[in-house]
């Protein structure tokens, strides 16, 4: 009897130990499978960019291209549109938008999170309200306004609606709210000015959020299509999204060229992101150590 009892007592602990690893592996598997499924359209896009137009039309479907090194689509894309220039323009615009967003959003986030002043909630609501306005309905008046400022076809004009991100204000406010008030009060007792507190206490504590905002705002600005379309007329100022859309026209979509152009537009982002990811992780780990 006792031997059975001890066996039963012993088994549950082992079972818990097994199922812990089990669970961890299952989670890893699920995450990995999800990632692969999410990544699949990109693989498909890349593979298609190596096919000629007749190959794409082929039925039944053929996954691999006839010639894996068929770069004719890429050559054609660069011939038709000056994509290198577009990449440069997009990079400049997106970088300015990202940096400006971080600066203004973190300032505003701090103000909204840790201060009380008359009209605070109304101002916050007004800023969030901007997000609720359909851009299509303000585009024409906005264009006239930017034109009056003489900023058409300039980097300033392209980036103008993008300089501050509502999402950024949101995110920074949430992130800064989580900072315990004791830290701030301690700094105040030490005699620091409000701005000093911002630079020395707040900013270091929200590094992950800043990194997140930088990346997200950069990408969001990079992928803007409608406003650049309306505000840019000069061929040298075009951005990547406009170049991409020139392969989808009134009558048909040139999938072979579109996918090649899409790969070209993503490649720099991929590179930036992979490099930045390491930096993000570092920042996160370091702030975690500070506790």
């Amino acid at each position: 009897m006792t031997s059975v009892a001890t066996k039963i007592e012993a088994a549950p602990r082992e079972r818990i130990a097994l199922s812990r690893t089990h669970v961890r592996w299952l989670i890893m598997l699920a995450v990995a499978c999800g990632a692969i499924m999410v990544f699949f359209p990109f693989f498909w896009m890349a593979v298609t960019s190596l096919k000629t137009a007749p190959e794409i039309q082929r039925v039944p479907l053929q996954i691999a291209p006839d010639h894996w090194l068929n770069l004719s689509n890429y050559v054609e894309v660069f011939k038709r549109e000056s994509f290198l220039r577009y990449l440069l323009n997009s990079t400049i615009v997106a970088s300015v938008a990202a940096v400006s967003s971080v600066v203004v959003s973190s300032l505003a986030g701090f103000g909204f999170a840790k201060y009380r002043f008359p009209g605070r909630d109304i101002f916050f609501l007004a800023i969030v309200g901007i997000l609720m306005v359909p851009f299509q309905s303000v585009v024409v008046p906005l264009y006239v306004w930017i034109n009056d400022l003489g900023l058409l076809d300039t980097y300033a004009g392209i980036v103008a609606p993008d300089l501050v991100s509502v999402f950024g204000v949101f995110l920074m406010r949430q992130a800064i709210e989580m900072i315990p008030n004791d830290y701030i009060d301690a700094a105040r007792i030490d005699g620091a000015s409000e701005l000093r507190i911002f630079f020395l206490v707040i900013l270091p504590s929200v590094k992950p959020a800043i990194a997140t905002l930088l990346i997200i705002k950069f990408l969001w600005s990079w992928n803007e299509f409608f406003w650049p379309l309306v505000v840019i007329s000069s061929p040298q100022m075009k951005v990547v999204t406009m170049g991409l859309m020139s392969f989808s026209n009134m009558y048909f979509i040139e999938y072979n060229l579109l996918t090649a152009a899409a790969v070209i537009s993503i490649l720099p982002i991929l590179i930036i992101f992979i490099t930045l990811q390491r930096w993000v992780v570092q920042a996160v780990v370091m702030s975690g150590l500070k506790g």
Partner: protein, 302 residues
């Protein structure tokens, strides 16, 4: 009014604190005021005018509001948009949360970065490019999806061509694009939950599920609310993906509010009507956001 005077001319330390707070938000306010305020006011003004052929404007008061809000096409578009929402928003938030929790558990940094980048990549494509690629995957004849399904014996589906499947198919595209973004937000938040909380819970013998329910989710409450609000706004204003692929078809089954707004403004040249729709969108989203905020925001004690 008196309060503003005190901000401008602070009497004491507290007033100076208030002024500092105001100054911190001033740049953002200035920006929105200078860039968006004028165009916004103008577009609201348009909702009270009718543009006659030739370009002349004609004041018509609330007549356009009556016209748009009693138009069945408009309400069909609203219905379609809401249906899209009801699919995209919960699925995106839940999946993003699940993925973030899963990624948080992965201890090997290299793998975690790799998977995280893969989830995030769709956000790096423009909405239009993403939609076009998905449209092709969805193609009834030579799209990959039907091809894959044929291996498990499912007959080819019409996806974007089918009256019943078009909305869920479009919703999948939205989920695909947005999931990485929300995962990043959740992951960043999860990373900043101090380990002590979990250690304390473990000492009390809490199960994984209990940890999730009583520690993780409440601490993530702020982010979850924020993500829900953002996803609601984003999906309510859905336009690029639909316009690039189905253009509201087939037979109006995928016409969304903003799609209708765009057509009304730029293809039918009825700016007044379009501005009415814009006001509708704004008011609806404002109300929905306020509701979500009041109902779901819980203060968290540290």
């Amino acid at each position: 009014m008196r309060q503003w005077l005190h901000i401008a001319f602070p009497r004491n330390y507290l007033d100076r604190r208030k002024r500092a707070g105001f100054l911190f938000v001033l740049p953002a306010l200035l920006f929105f005021g200078s860039v968006y305020l004028l165009p916004l006011a103008q577009s609201i003004m348009y909702s009270f005018y009718k543009i006659a052929p030739g370009g002349a404007k004609q004041f018509v008061g609330l007549r356009l509001y009556e016209k748009v809000l009693t138009d069945s096409t408009f309400w069909t578009a609203v219905g379609n948009t809401v249906q899209l929402l009801l699919f995209s928003v919960p699925v995106t938030v839940v999946l993003a949360l699940a993925v973030a929790l899963g990624l948080n558990r992965v201890t090997n940094l290299k793998w975690r970065n790799l998977w995280a980048s893969m989830y995030f990549l769709p956000f790096a494509t423009s909405l239009v490019a993403a939609a076009l690629i998905w449209q092709w995957i969805y193609d009834p004849v030579y799209g990959f999806l039907n091809y894959a399904l044929s291996f498990v014996g499912i007959p080819p589906q019409k996806w974007l061509q089918s009256l019943s499947q078009v909305l869920p198919s479009l919703a999948v595209v939205s989920v695909w694009v947005r999931i990485g973004f929300d995962t990043m937000i959740f992951l960043a938040a999860l990373q900043s939950i101090p380990a002590e909380y979990y250690e304390a819970a473990n000492m009390d013998g809490a199960s994984g599920f209990q940890r999730l329910r009583y520690i993780t989710l409440p601490l993530l409450n702020a982010q979850i609310v924020m993500v829900c609000i953002l996803e609601l706004i984003f999906n309510f204003k859905i336009f690029d993906q639909v316009y690039a692929t189905t253009q509201g078809g087939p037979a109006g089954a995928s016409q969304t509010i903003i799609g209708l707004l765009y057509d009304t403004a730029f293809k039918f040249f009825r700016f007044g009507d379009a501005s009415v729709m814009a006001v509708f969108v704004f008011v609806t989203l404002m109300v929905a956001t306020l509701l979500q905020w009041r109902l779901f925001r819980k203060p968290v004690e540290y």
